[in-house]
Subunit: 234 residues, 4 copies
Amino acid sequence: MQPYGKAFGLWRKAALTDNDGLWDAYTRHQFVEALRDGTLPLASFLHYLVQDYVFLVHFSRAYALAVVKSETLDEMKVASATVNALVNIEMQHHVTVCASHGIDEKTLFNAVEESANLAYTRYVLDAGYSGDLVDLLAALAPCVLGYGEIGTRLAQQTSANNPYTEWIETYASDDYQYVCKEMGELLDSALERRIGSDFQASPRWQRLTDRFITATRLEVGFWDMSLKPNHKVA
Amino acid sequence: MQPYGKAFGLWRKAALTDNDGLWDAYTRHQFVEALRDGTLPLASFLHYLVQDYVFLVHFSRAYALAVVKSETLDEMKVASATVNALVNIEMQHHVTVCASHGIDEKTLFNAVEESANLAYTRYVLDAGYSGDLVDLLAALAPCVLGYGEIGTRLAQQTSANNPYTEWIETYASDDYQYVCKEMGELLDSALERRIGSDFQASPRWQRLTDRFITATRLEVGFWDMSLKPNHKVA
Amino acid sequence: MQPYGKAFGLWRKAALTDNDGLWDAYTRHQFVEALRDGTLPLASFLHYLVQDYVFLVHFSRAYALAVVKSETLDEMKVASATVNALVNIEMQHHVTVCASHGIDEKTLFNAVEESANLAYTRYVLDAGYSGDLVDLLAALAPCVLGYGEIGTRLAQQTSANNPYTEWIETYASDDYQYVCKEMGELLDSALERRIGSDFQASPRWQRLTDRFITATRLEVGFWDMSLKPNHKVA
Amino acid sequence: MQPYGKAFGLWRKAALTDNDGLWDAYTRHQFVEALRDGTLPLASFLHYLVQDYVFLVHFSRAYALAVVKSETLDEMKVASATVNALVNIEMQHHVTVCASHGIDEKTLFNAVEESANLAYTRYVLDAGYSGDLVDLLAALAPCVLGYGEIGTRLAQQTSANNPYTEWIETYASDDYQYVCKEMGELLDSALERRIGSDFQASPRWQRLTDRFITATRLEVGFWDMSLKPNHKVA
């Protein structure tokens, strides 16, 4: 069902069934559904794009931290490739779309970061600094893989003249899905290396699940923020 | 006027006059004034104490990071002493007061951390991880020194039968004021060592000021959160 | 037999029996035996004290990193107390002894760090940065606990007029042995929390053992360096 | 004269004239001259290649840390590109050459790291963890830019039938020289951003120079180690 590996399947289920449908609150958020049916106001979309660009700066820093915390060659290679994918697929998509609306890259980089945005990326970074690679990956996973799931579903449900088709196709694309597939495999192999193949039985498992849940909550907060173009900044 | 050194004086002024009175929005917040005149609802105070305990866990981690990032013996000594002061003056005060209201220490340590709380401490930690000691100190300063200023003022303005006298006296105490004085001196000496005595002229100065401003904004968000005992958690 | 807990007992045994007597190469090194029988040249001892002071600066930074990486209140408390013990028991002992030989504290702090010294502390720090708390503790353990074992044995075997009695008594003292006992308990509880009570069965166990072994090798290198007062610096 | 920017020119000069010709001790080391004239024993070369591969693993981790510590988009882009260059130009060259001598990549990745090797990379990593981006870059520079200088000189002085031509051409290549040029520009711009254009006048300058000098000393130690195929490991 979930094409992104065993750990993601378990965490996704925990976020869905043990936390009052939190996974749906994130992946089927009002903002996402308005992207799907094309009714999202452009102001909200641009507000989102600018904040998401700042998000990606710090999220890319967090992925670079995964290279620092790698123990194997395969871990280093996947993490490095993902940093590249973030910069080249995701950030460049933002730059292109924003440029078409008169917002240049320096403006994007220097946009004032809202509190819900800051909370999310700094939580992910500290998960990495304070723990090991799997603590970091558990906090990175909801964004990478949730967007993969959203992209896949919206590509199936959207209509031809949806103004947000390009956004949807970015995350539904083979390139992005490949990143997700590699991330899922990295998650499983990093967990097996550090905890063993029966990783759900580890005393760490609940805390790793909590990291995934907290990051998913912060995703919901990010969509909430994105809907409000005049939200008070912090 | 400000007894906590030169850098703090400059940053405090920037927060007050260049940012629409942000410093007063923090140090004269509705929550603070309700502590001063004793009208703060107990539920708000306990909500604050529990969240502030979790805050202090991560704030102490950030201060321990200052030991890791010290370059001189004096920097190490002051940072180590402040970690101790946080644990022994501040955290123990919370434990005692909470215990008198039936909340034990394990409950405090494991309380669900709200988003405004998490945003603040993780921002401070990442300031340290991504920069050097002065980046970290600029983000730590508004909390340590702002509470010193609040404690001093409230001790002068409160009345004898205020139920929050113990809280006020904690931050007005000679012990806490000594921590503030040492922090102010550490700030100035760390800046001089890394940037020079004319540190306001450095290209880094505006970015360090921005760190102080962002942390002050996150303090305002913390008081806002504290006023709402049923605030949605994240 | 070993009073410092289960994990230390297992790692000590691995260092002794699976690595050609490495544990004895460290704890019964020529330098240690010359301290025991009082034949160590004063020049070697002073050379050691100066390098060990610089070692303790960075080792204290590494212990402060353990506070940053703690997940429980008990972990934070023990790590904070140990930072204090390092600064107050160990570093101050060095300062006093060196002062009696005309070497002041600023000189100690700024001494040129030799390569074998630098290799050790930076390895320990990176074990913490790249892994989680138990990676860091496995690299910290050989120094803290090995000195505890050396101190205990030498106090039993030394004679009354040994010029190195004060050094021996520092590590044989109840205060230092208490630090060792707490470190041993912290090790076991941190391992149980993250890996489970059967921690030897974890896929991480061999890599954690490797960290302990590498740090023990670096201890041998430190004694080798200490014997040579005119060793080329790096 | 030095094509890699202003800061490198100043640091190179300090290493050459203020430290007893240290820069030449590194870039004209007996190992380098034996590469130049083709007299280096193959056993030494292979010993070097294996250790250098392990070096590059941790050096790549350190460059990934530069992404984590970047403050601007340009800093992120150059640091990311350099991580790629390390993995794709340098590490792959090692893999190819070692494979032709029967040493596979997993063997390379898991080779026992010698003490002189470990000392160097962990020093660089801790320079980054404890300081800011310019502390890290000062410790990274001697390796990246020294190899660029060695490659350029050896390409001019070597003869056609030198068995080490491929190694020489790797570092003399336009691709590698481009990495060096970008690194030199990154150094200068990162210093200007944090310290100002007159960065030599800063109180930090001497300490940054010390980082460059220490890393250069550790390069000399690396060549010394490489000459001894049966060097005791740590």
